[in-house]
Symmetry: C2
Subunit: 340 residues, 2 copies
DNA sequence: CTGAAAGCGCTTACAG
DNA sequence: CTGAAAGCGCTTACAG
């Protein structure tokens, strides 16, 4: 049906091998032949069949990248950082949309194996035995992004240093003079790390730990709004003298602000509030939210770099990478005013 | 290196053809043989090489789907609607992230051809001659999603009926009693359609057309905020007696609200405002934005259905589809109060 | 600098 | 019900 390398060869009276060589940029070809071939390719509108190529070669130049939830803009920046580096290095990305389903991930891994991807960057919500086993058998380089696999799995990861980040945020808030600081816990593994940092910080500084965790999903804005709302309610009812809140995400922070708004409390005059993620709406004047940026694009890039290092065997066993975060100060947090 | 169909065949003492047949679910196989083969597959952890399969078969069961900007959550819902239907029908999706670049799209089409995708769902920002030419030569079914190709191209599309939608929104606003209604134009092709409807509506009802178009990109929230802000400023300065604003998107509406907030004007008491898109943050109490939903998931699904119809030749030349929209009434729009 | 040949791992008529 | 053989469209040593 479509034109093949044989047609091109026939058309210019050379062998298939020769056409293949010019296609692949070999240099030991006479300029005349090369030109003839290029002309024929153009003339016949020939496009090499990549499935045949992939079958022949040992590599496919395809990297799989899973996106936990395509509707969540959060992950997109990771992806676009990774994609950029990969494209620069001649790889194509095959995205997999997991929609928060463990089964879809397993299924995707199977597909990756069938298609003989060169490597995988994954962000599983959970590290089940079944998942680890599948990864073990898949026999291709795998890097975890924003998720930390069990040490024993041997899967390297790139993540933010959430512990350090949370410590920094708490330091920032106490530097403003706050001592009665509550924490809204994000109900995920990352949230657990932040809470640990929060509690450690409270203990070190001898201030009361006031963390609240509501067991409702908090990924999407509308869910997080409810979660943050309930958490803020409990904080307000339990520790009414709280002067600052460190929310596990911007989404939770906004949920908390909805509650405060209802109660007629104003931010930051009555209470300071800070989030994490630097979502695009965090800077809107209604929120003007102090937050922690996770440098997502850079992270995606780092994961891709790590994977390429493994694939190209520059560094077969890379060390895990914990990237820094940065605090973006806006108007939702202010100095503690005694009796203010 | 990895185990092949030959290994499986050898392992159970049958021919490669037989293994292939059980793999592909042929029914004329003795149960005994089938069981032996399945056992061997399990035992050897055999996974068929899909690149070989794709080379052999006439189809690849892969559909390409372009995402104009992976960071824009807007398109993700389209994608997830399309993906769902495609998966149900045994197809895999190969996403392409265009990042608003025409070159990346051209490149992606080339890749689709190399990989012999079975079909393509695309959302190009512009229909250039080069693009149309590439599509013409690609020789695979193509459906346009949310973009309308030139009639002559023969490429069918699925889109919202933006004209009708805008008419409905204007009807809604005039039904509330408003007659001095401004329109903030989204600077894209879709925006042009909405403006046309707006102007036609104004003419029919004999009310003054007050549309403003700012030539700044308005895709992302931060850009749209600036755009909407400037547009609202101009509206306010030019027609200070305006009582309602129909903004081309929620993002623009929020930009407009930033301006109104600065000026100390309140929504909806001083001015009603409505958007389009129903972004997740539109329902936050600070905005409580009346908006128009585009039923994005359903749209993605419809595009996928149209593509499958073509691929499976149920309907070689489908008619274009214009899907309806729905108005979501919230608190940002109220009845016009004389002198209020 | 170029060609003939084998091979990548499957599928699919064709026989029997 | 099963096998032998050809073929999908490339690439890659191997010769010359």
């Amino acid at each position: 049906m479509s034109v093949t390398i044989r047609d091109v060869a026939k058309f210019c009276g050379v062998s298939v091998s020769t056409v293949s060589r010019v296609l692949n940029g070999y240099t030991d070809i006479s300029e005349e032949t090369a030109n003839k071939v290029f002309a024929a390719i153009k003339k016949l509108d020939y496009v090499p069949n990549n499935t045949a190529r992939m079958l022949t070669r040992k590599d496919t130049k395809i990297i799989g990248l899973t996106i936990p939830d395509i509707k969540d803009p959060f992950f997109s920046e990771n992806a676009s950082g990774a994609e950029k580096l990969l494209l620069e290095n001649g790889y194509q990305i095959f995205y997999g949309n997991m929609e928060r389903s463990a089964d879809k991930l397993l299924n995707y891994l199977q597909q990756a194996r069938q298609m003989r991807f060169d490597g995988l960057i994954i962000t599983p919500d959970e590290w089940t035995e079944e998942l680890l086993d599948t990864i073990r058998r898949i026999s291709m380089p795998v890097v975890a992004l924003r998720r930390r696999p069990p040490q024993s799995s041997g899967v390297p990861f790139v993540d933010n240093d959430h512990y350090k980040g949370a410590m920094e945020m708490m330091t920032y808030l106490t530097d403003l003079g706050h001592t009665r600081i509550a924490h809204i816990v994000l109900p995920t593994g990352i949230g657990a790390i932040r809470r640990e940092a929060y509690r450690d910080f409270c203990q070190i500084r001898s201030i009361e730990a006031r963390d609240v965790k509501i067991d409702l999903p908090a990924n999407k804005l509308d869910q997080a709004r409810e979660n943050g709302y309930q958490a803020m309610k409990r904080i307000h009812e339990t520790w009414p003298d709280t002067t600052a809140v460190f929310a596990g995400t911007d989404q939770l922070a906004i949920g908390a602000m909805v509650y405060l708004r209802e109660k007629g409390l104003s931010v930051p005059a009555d209470i300071s509030i800070a989030g994490v993620n630097d979502m695009d709406y965090a800077s809107l004047p209604w929120f003007d939210l102090t937050t922690m940026s996770l440098n997502r694009t850079e992270m995606g890039r780092a994961a891709a770099q790590m994977l390429l290092d493994i694939i190209e065997e520059r560094r077969p066993h890379p060390e895990n990478l914990l990237l820094g975060t940065s605090i973006i100060v806006r108007g939702s947090t202010i100095k503690y005013k005694n009796g203010g």
